[in-house]
């Protein structure tokens, strides 16, 4: 058993006998040192979706899932096609990728993990750290070099993230995909 707090996006829990994919999980401190987790769940049998809340320490039964390394092949509208090293392709809808969608963009080379339930691909996990390029941000307002002052910046797919004030357009940055936070400025990834 795991606690609700340990159930991350793209994990599957058996709830009252039914497998539910955790599409999104938000942890919040509710009061007096207790906490809740709001989850967006998708029923893997009938496809229905629901929003739920659990106490952070509620026990949940996790389902062990198969995983396979994949990379993004191409995006066609709402369809995202990934490919494994044996050139098998796996197609997912945008709605299946909700937790990672903000960081998926055409041409990305990240080694991802496709997640399978009953032999069927249900989602994709990104690496914890990814490198993305800033396509737009305002000039530094305060000339801060400490990295503590933050400002908004846009990525190639339109996702907005908070970055250090000294970052500029075309800079490459590392992002933590667990919470979407900026980690640091870095070099362009090598092909």
């Amino acid at each position: 058993m795991k606690t609700a707090q340990e159930m991350k996006a793209n994990s599957v829990a058996l709830i009252d006998g039914h497998p539910w994919l955790v599409q999104k999980a938000e942890f919040t401190k509710s009061g007096r040192n207790s906490a809740i987790v709001k989850m967006k769940l998708k029923n893997l049998v009938n496809g229905s979706k629901t929003e739920t809340v659990y106490k952070a320490d509620d026990k949940m039964e996790p389902v062990i899932l198969d995983r396979k390394e994949v990379t993004l092949s191409y995006i066609n509208g709402e369809d995202y096609v990934f490919m494994d090293p044996e050139f098998n392709s796996y197609e997912l809808r945008a709605e299946d990728l909700e937790s990672v969608l903000p960081f998926i963009e055409e041409g990305m080379t990240d080694i991802c993990e496709a997640v399978f339930f009953d032999g069927k691909v249900i989602s994709v996990d990104l690496p914890t750290t990814i490198v993305r390029q800033i396509t737009y941000t305002e000039n530094s307002a305060r000339g801060d070099t400490s990295g503590k002052v933050m400002k908004p910046a846009k990525l190639r797919n339109g996702t907005e993230v908070k970055v250090a004030d000294f970052c500029e357009i075309d800079d490459w940055i590392e992002i933590d995909t667990r919470d979407g936070s900026y980690k640091n400025r870095t070099q362009a990834p090598t092909a």
Binding site: D16, R32, S34, Y54
Partner: protein, 380 residues
Amino acid sequence: MSNRWDIFCRVVDNYGDIGVTWRLARQLAAEYGLVVRLWVDEPAAFLRLCPAAEAPLSGQCIEGVEVRHWPVVFPPVEVADVVIEAFACHLPMRYVEAMAARQHKPLWLNLEYLSAEAWVTGCHGLPSPQAGGLPKFFFFPGFVDGTGGLLRERNLLAQRRAFQTAPEARGEFLAHLGVRPAGNTRLISLFAYENASLAGWLTALAADRQPTLLLVPRGRIEGELQRWFGAQPSPGHCWRRGNLQVQLLPFLRHQDYDRLLWSCDVNAVRGEDSFVRAQWAGRPLLWHIYPQEEGAHWTKLDAFLDLYCSGLSPQAGAAQKSLWHAWNGRGNMHAAWVAAQPQMAALSSRAEGWCREQAKRPDLALALVRFHRNWLLCAA
């Protein structure tokens, strides 16, 4: 409509948990004719709030509520139609199994903590599917539409207004407590956790031109008062320094504590239960929030201040925020209190306005009853 409700209360510390659940239980029984059973794991806490009760709590009916001790080994009992676990307590496993075994499953509600944070509306009323097909939902009290509202008895505000407009009622109540303030004395009630900011506030009150009588129901703050005065209280449970007099009061029943809040010009309160009651008093208040790990309480404090201060001028709002921050350990309480004095008329007016705004929303008991009714309709 099924009408048996069980409320489970685990006393973590202080009197907030039992205070809220005891009020809720009484209101559900008195105003909605529901058969309510209140389970409390620490009878001593309940007995302090309700001296009329007798230990051990073995089913005594008090003010229309059956109050039961929640023992470590939970006895086999008939499951109610609505089951409330207060403040995220965990129900006894035996009781949960009995709920699951029932042909018509009861409605299971987790009554959560009070918070003004924006996320509350997104979580209020959401399901929390459980094993055995038990329908469980999260229920959040709150200050805005889309939450479960605040505990407020049907006649509370009428009673409060009648009391506040009858000086003889106030005088009689205070005299009953042994309190006889002089005409120009400012009355302040103090109910707080241990608070490092207390000394600065006492110093400011002692030096103020206006005399203050600080009324303190006995509790955890006494030690700090004694330290500041450097002496035991006099036989009348009083201390005096400069223009400040402090008087200790006995621990008060709910109804008397309400009257104390209604009698005072300013109320210092703590946690959740007294915080809500002070809002219904319509007087300026000073909130000592329950401190949480990693400073999580600051977000909650500021979320409330943002709502509350939206009805104040920028100057009054800034004074209110500085004062509450200082009282909770960020800032100089002496300076914040002095700076807030020119804004007291505005803060008084806001307190009454806030009370009126909040009273327009359904109260927590009504919201729970409606939730149950709607759930039954959906299930039918």
